[in-house]
């Protein structure tokens, strides 16, 4: 009906939180934000989230079009439907932002994250770590006699699951890239 895609039924609230029975459920959304690759643009986006009290679960940013001077920021956030709409509208009015896509509601999308795991151990644990890595299709990218570095790619849930399994086997460190996401199908 209107130019604004505003979800019906989202209840209002204020920063003063005068509604004790606030019942809206918190949703997790993945936003793809195409921005002008200018100095300060990431600070603007992050400042918006911290200044207005929104959550960031994961954030990745990199230049995606050198000639067009464009970067893509992928943000995983959570909030009530009304907060999610606010976040998109607030992002949309940043001068350096070209486009905001909500991959969670605009059809289906694929999400991937890459992580590196450092696991140290000897004996059975070491063998078990390699066996599990094989099941998760993780690659060994560095090894010593007492340690491995595994590289794993997948959804954040898959990486979480791998981390849980590695923890008792001598997990030392994790480095995660954050989520990269694209909508499925043709543009």
């Amino acid at each position: 009906m209107s130019a604004l895609k505003i979800k019906k039924g989202a209840t209002s609230h204020s920063a003063y939180n005068l509604r004790p029975n606030y019942s809206d459920t918190v949703e997790r959304h993945t936003l793809a934000v195409l921005v002008e690759n200018e100095p300060g643009v990431l600070a603007r986006v992050i400042g918006l989230f911290s200044g207005r009290g929104y959550n960031i679960d994961s954030l990745t940013v990199a230049e995606v079009d050198h000639l067009g001077h464009r970067s893509r920021i992928t943000i995983v956030t959570n909030g009530t439907p009304q907060i999610i709409e606010q976040i998109k509208a607030q992002l949309g009015r940043i001068v350096d932002v070209h486009k905001v896509n909500d991959l969670t509601v605009e059809g289906s999308s694929v999400e991937r994250e890459l992580a590196l795991f450092k696991v140290s151990g000897k004996g059975e644990n070491r063998i078990e770590a390699v066996r599990l890595a094989d099941i998760f299709r993780a690659n060994v990218v560095d090894s010593t006699l007492e340690s491995f570095v595994f590289e794993i790619t997948g959804t954040p849930e898959k990486i979480d699951a791998f981390a849980e399994l590695m923890r008792p086997l001598g997990l030392q460190e994790i480095a995660r890239t954050g989520v990269a996401a694209l909508s499925r199908g043709a543009v």
Partner: protein
């Protein structure tokens, strides 16, 4: 044809090309090359303020009273940090400003150099956009883009940080028409949504227009269309503090201002309406009061150019994203083409109800005895100045609310006040900016003595530039609004809300070479006001008023629109529960 020139020259050239006539500023080490160029030209008048905060507020006053962007020029470091309050004020009230700051040379950035501050970092959350220029070749294009960004869409302040070596270096000047921008906010509203609103208007029994500063920002055409729409539909209209003047106070359908200190009839109409048409307002917490009791039975439409204002605090049924003037034009056309229908019977009953509320006469007060009531002072000021070509600015506090209640505004751009940020110290420098734009007009700053002292140094500016601004100070020797809240909420413990050791305002005026007038007697008030108006020069008018007057009506924090406190009400326990935590 390409033109080579220094960065400093580009700044002045771009300002001239953008039609800038006045710049408010204060020099310093990092902007000396620009000041050198200003010295060597005659197109732009530079107004030397006495504090950078004053420069930005003056630019706001200039902008708000002309519809054109205001320009301020300040140095690096403390110059930039002093501008922050003005920038934030302009951001919250959507005032288009271009603020130019000097910066240490590019090769010294990050070294904690003398008068270095991370200006773009500090001002990122308090500007609509900002830029740090590292190459002189990009300076002119950025300056032109800055004017575009400040004035397009929802207006706001922008800042350009210009390192000193960029000002000295030579580059190629880019003309405004060569600049490409991707920033082009939508101005036309969705016609289906507009039609849906028209349908709601055709059947509404109890409609109300709730207008705001967006009407004024949209330009004189928007106010004109709004008047046409109100006259054609006979719907009642109220406005926020920021929107006063978009519909004439003398108009038949005018309910007065709404909100925390709004008129009874305006707030009651908002509470009981069945169709609320928000035009360029933003459901600010001063307006809505208690959210879960805000206009419970109404269908709500919202016309706003900023998508993030829609559904931010109040869920609306008919959102219309677009510029007020564009949307109102379409709205009128659709309404006319569908046969100019309204619900006559419903409207007639609605006006009967509204007239009952009006009969309460919520602004009535009694002036008796030998002490001037602040309301009386403003009533007399209104009576004696309303026929003049008049512009009003205010500071922040009780006097501001009384001014909004007791002064009438017939046209847009005549009322300059700090609404969103509530900046004490705004009004005096703003009046200087207004007077620069309208040298022959009567410019009055309605002030409280405490607010006025916050930027009193600008009396030097007013004297230097022969600006006959009238400072109408309602002096109650109190921080009146703070005192009122302490009375209502903090058991009458008046913590630090006295203005002790006040200056003698008449002598203070005279120390600057201005005229000072003091008045404490209601019987001589008219003559004193006339003396102020007729004096050709800045006047400091010290109006000694009743010290403990409270500002009513008042919707206490945490209450609904129909739970207003009136002038003679008991105020014990007026604010309680969740309301205590609010501001």
């Amino acid at each position: 044809m390409t033109k080579a020139m220094t960065g400093a020259k580009m700044v002045v050239q771009a300002l001239i090309d953008q039609g800038v006539e006045v710049v408010f500023g204060y020099p310093g080490g990092a902007v000396l090359p620009i000041y050198d160029e200003i010295f060597q030209q005659n197109s732009i008048t530079h107004v030397l303020v006495r504090h950078e905060q004053g420069a930005v507020h003056a630019a706001e006053g200039y902008a708000r009273s002309t519809g054109k962007p205001g320009v301020a020029l300040v140095t690096s470091g403390p110059g930039a940090t002093n501008a922050v309050t003005g920038l934030t004020d302009a951001l919250l009230d959507s005032i288009p400003l271009i603020v130019l700051t000097g910066q240490v040379p590019t090769f010294m950035i990050g070294s904690d150099a003398f008068q270095e501050a991370d200006t773009v970092g500090i001002t990122r959350p308090c500007t609509k956009h900002n830029w740090l220029i590292k190459e002189t070749d990009k300076l002119a294009a950025t300056l032109h883009e800055a004017f575009h960004v400040a004035t397009s869409g929802r207006p706001g302040p922008v800042l350009i940080d210009i390192p000193k070596d960029v000002q000295f270096a030579t580059g190629t000047y880019t003309e405004a028409k060569q600049v490409e921008t991707h920033y082009n906010p939508q101005v036309k509203g969705d016609i289906d949504a507009i039609t849906e609103l028209v349908k709601a208007m055709e059947t509404a029994k109890r409609p109300v227009f709730y207008t705001g500063g967006g009407v004024i920002n949209s330009g004189p055409q928007a106010s004109q269309l709004l008047r046409e729409l109100v006259a054609a539909t006979n719907f009642p209209i109220t406005s926020t503090l920021m929107g006063l003047g978009c519909y004439p106070a003398s108009g038949d359908n005018w309910l007065g201002m709404l909100g925390m200190h709004g008129l009874y009839e305006a707030n009651m109409a908002m509470h009981d309406c069945d169709l609320m048409i928000n035009i360029g307002a933003r459901f600010d917490d001063r307006i809505t009061g208690r959210l879960d009791a805000f206009s419970p039975g109404s269908k709500k439409a919202h016309i706003d150019i900023d998508a993030s204002s829609i559904n931010k605090v109040i869920h609306v049924d008919i959102p219309i994203l677009g510029d007020v003037a564009h949307v109102l034009e379409d709205l009128l056309n659709v309404w006319k083409s569908r046969g100019r229908k309204t619900n006559q019977e419903g409207l007639s009953n609605w006006w009967d109800q509204i007239n009952d509320w009006r009969a309460v006469k919520c602004l009535d007060f009694t002036q008796e005895g030998k002490i001037i009531k602040p309301q009386y002072a403003l009533q007399r000021l209104e009576e004696l100045t309303k026929k003049h070509d008049r512009y009003i600015t205010t500071e922040v506090g009780q006097h501001q609310m009384w001014a909004a209640q007791y002064l009438g505004f017939e046209d847009p751009n005549r009322w300059m006040t700090s609404g969103g940020l509530g900046t004490m110290g705004y009004g005096f420098p703003a009046s200087i900016g207004v007077q620069m734009a309208h040298p022959d007009a009567l410019v009055i700053n309605v002030a409280g003595e405490a607010s006025w002292l916050m930027n009193m140094q600008e009396l030097g500016t007013a004297m230097q530039f022969n600006l006959p601004v009238k400072q109408f100070i309602l002096n109650n020797e109190r921080l009146g609004m703070v005192r009122q809240w302490q009375q209502l909420l903090h058991g009458e413990r008046y913590s630090s809300s006295w203005s002790e050791s006040l200056p003698d305002f008449v002598k203070l005026a005279e120390a600057f070479g201005a005229k000072g007038i003091q008045c404490h007697d209601p019987d001589t008030l008219d003559d004193a006001i006339m003396e102020m108006i007729t004096h050709d020069g800045p006047v400091l008018f010290d109006c000694l008023v009743e010290k403990h007057e409270n500002c009513f009506p008042m919707i206490p924090s945490g209450k609904a629109h129909n739970e207003m406190l009136m002038g003679d009400a008991s105020t014990d326990g007026a604010i309680s529960g969740a309301g205590e935590a609010l501001v």
